[in-house]
Symmetry: C2
Subunit: 358 residues, 2 copies
Amino acid sequence: MERLVVNSSLQSYTIYMEEKSRFKIPKLLKKEYSSILIITDTNVAKLYSNDIVSSFPHDKVYVVVVDAGEQTKSLDTFYYLHTKAIEYGLDRESLIIALGGGVIGDLAGFVAATFMRGIDYVQMPTTILAHDSSVGGKVAINHEKGKNLIGSFYPPILVLYDTDTLKTLPAREVRSGFAEIIKEAMLADSDLFDRLMSVSLEGLTLEALNLFIYSGLQIKIKLVEADEKETGNRKFLNLGHTLGHALEAKLGYGVLTHGEAVAIGLLFMIYVSERELGASLPTETLIKWFKKNGYINPLTLDMVDELVEIILHDKKTVNQKIQMILLRNLAGPIIQPLEAKKLKSYLQGFIVDGISKR
Amino acid sequence: MERLVVNSSLQSYTIYMEEKSRFKIPKLLKKEYSSILIITDTNVAKLYSNDIVSSFPHDKVYVVVVDAGEQTKSLDTFYYLHTKAIEYGLDRESLIIALGGGVIGDLAGFVAATFMRGIDYVQMPTTILAHDSSVGGKVAINHEKGKNLIGSFYPPILVLYDTDTLKTLPAREVRSGFAEIIKEAMLADSDLFDRLMSVSLEGLTLEALNLFIYSGLQIKIKLVEADEKETGNRKFLNLGHTLGHALEAKLGYGVLTHGEAVAIGLLFMIYVSERELGASLPTETLIKWFKKNGYINPLTLDMVDELVEIILHDKKTVNQKIQMILLRNLAGPIIQPLEAKKLKSYLQGFIVDGISKR
Ligand SMILES: NC(=O)c1ccc[n+]([C@@H]2O[C@H](COP(=O)([O-])OP(=O)(O)OC[C@H]3O[C@@H](n4cnc5c(N)ncnc54)[C@H](O)[C@@H]3O)[C@@H](O)[C@H]2O)c1
Ligand SMILES: NC(=O)c1ccc[n+]([C@@H]2O[C@H](COP(=O)([O-])OP(=O)(O)OC[C@H]3O[C@@H](n4cnc5c(N)ncnc54)[C@H](O)[C@@H]3O)[C@@H](O)[C@H]2O)c1
Ligand SMILES: [Zn+2]
Ligand SMILES: [Zn+2]
């Protein structure tokens, strides 16, 4: 079993990474809980929720299943889950288990953060992408005006990553998760980046996948530990997310996966880095890799105004300046404040140049 | 200007208590904020919001007014305030000011705790009761199934208590606030309790009031500092709140003020303490004082089942046992787990004996 520790001022916690570990959660918990609520989505429930319920000896274990998909990270589902928690008699000594991808992690984590002013919860990521979302304590739901606008910093007591569950992941979700690993590599590990560019997603072994995830986790942990509350370098993890988040909001959640949107955002980030900083980056390699592995790009010129509008209301905007993460070189990120006007013209250029379509 | 400091592991902050201090907030802030959102209610807005807006030199100061009353501590208002914050372009460097009683403090504080994962906020209590609610970092909204069930621990950066604003407080709200000071006295300061029992609320000078509030604050701070996350003795502050909260929920918010409900809860707590612990308490004195000062009590026998049901879903219930705060003697609180059945029979006895009606 791989073990990583995340040191947090709020609470330190361990990430256990092991195949089939979903069958042995009770052993990893450090105390008895009065009751346990497993929050999961329709797809994951069918596959894995029984494994977890039956791993607990006692009977106060409840499961609530919500719709799969980004739309579920909403105020309504948030309130619904609180209602369920109350109805099942959860109290301050209860535990929530977030079983699923980043949507469930963010949502169930925010419920745990706010139920009776905060109870313990476990992250059980079941997507590749969720290696990123389950670590670092960021939990949130979406506001209709923007992603993750309502949330808090609230670390889990434990992250349990049973990578065996990744075998059932649809190809699109594999693609989505890899975009975040590529992001991490571009931020901090050019060697990892090269290794990523040398594989193809189809036919990847679970062993290789485990290694990529492990490398990604290490990068994420380092940034999070150094800056828990994202006042400084943790912001780097938003690489590619300025446009990524806006695209998701603009197209309506579910049209692109989070990672597909981030992939386009990464290409845009490169476009701006080259022009703003004269950076020289492995642009062609990345474009080719995305193409070969089936990433899509629905960007069109008529979206520009609305995208810029959304970006201006994003968490990453301060004093009306967009704080965009750029790369001076591979593994050399910086935060660059950009005027909305400038961003807009870059975005137009990016679409017209067709760099993203090559 | 009176100054008290609250030491918190999350963030320490100062309470400034001074008449007319509402005109000098900018001086007390330690940094420049990109914009400021004042959240207040209809009653308070009319009286004081202009004073605060005009105390700021720059123009990015916005006011959002919500309905007065407990009903406003709802999911809907919470979301509405997030929408307003986004529309006004608040970002992570913005400040929220909670200007009002405990309802506004709890609500605006929870918005601050969750807007873009948490921004700074100032508590500006304008009720007597809010001396209690503005200190200690508990923020929350109500769930239809119970009070304060959705919330977090999120301390303000500053509490600014302009007691001059208390002059406009209706008699009922004075009564409400005094119930919490009496609670604090019963918990920790029998001398303060005697002084309280020796005055009558009508015709109380602002000077005397200031002293009572100051004493109450000291007790609250001590308990909060020793146990920020309410895993131990901070729970004592819930004295009288087991029945108090349930009564508010049962009758519908607004029928009783929070303090009126707590007053009844205190009498019930005494009733149980006498029977459960053989405690000897100044019961008659307190009953007389409440009567003289116009406290009301709408408790009837047919409410018992529903009240017990509500109490069982309360934050104060663990493993189906109600954790009730009792007094062995004045200033001698303990936490006593009670079965629902026992609580129910005490509640029936309390109503039938008419102790609360004498
Ligand atoms: N908190 C953070 O730090 C952070 C970081 C990155 C992303 N996120 C958030 O994560 C979310 C995206 O997460 P995601 O991509 O995991 O999305 P997701 O949770 O919606 O999962 C994607 C899809 O895969 C299905 N699925 C999950 N596990 C499966 C499995 N083992 N087998 C088969 N199907 C499975 C889900 O039902 C869903 O349909 C976004 O909301 C994003 O904002 C948060
Ligand atoms: N967070 C905590 O630790 C804590 C502690 C105790 C109570 N509370 C919460 O506090 C709330 C009750 O607070 P409250 O009693 O202050 O209620 P409130 O905020 O509703 O204020 C009572 C009434 O007085 C009006 N008002 C306020 N200031 C005024 C002024 N200066 N002049 C004239 N009118 C004024 C308000 O508009 C309202 O109608 C409850 O929701 C309770 O749960 C929280
Ligand atoms: Zn992401
Ligand atoms: Zn109270």
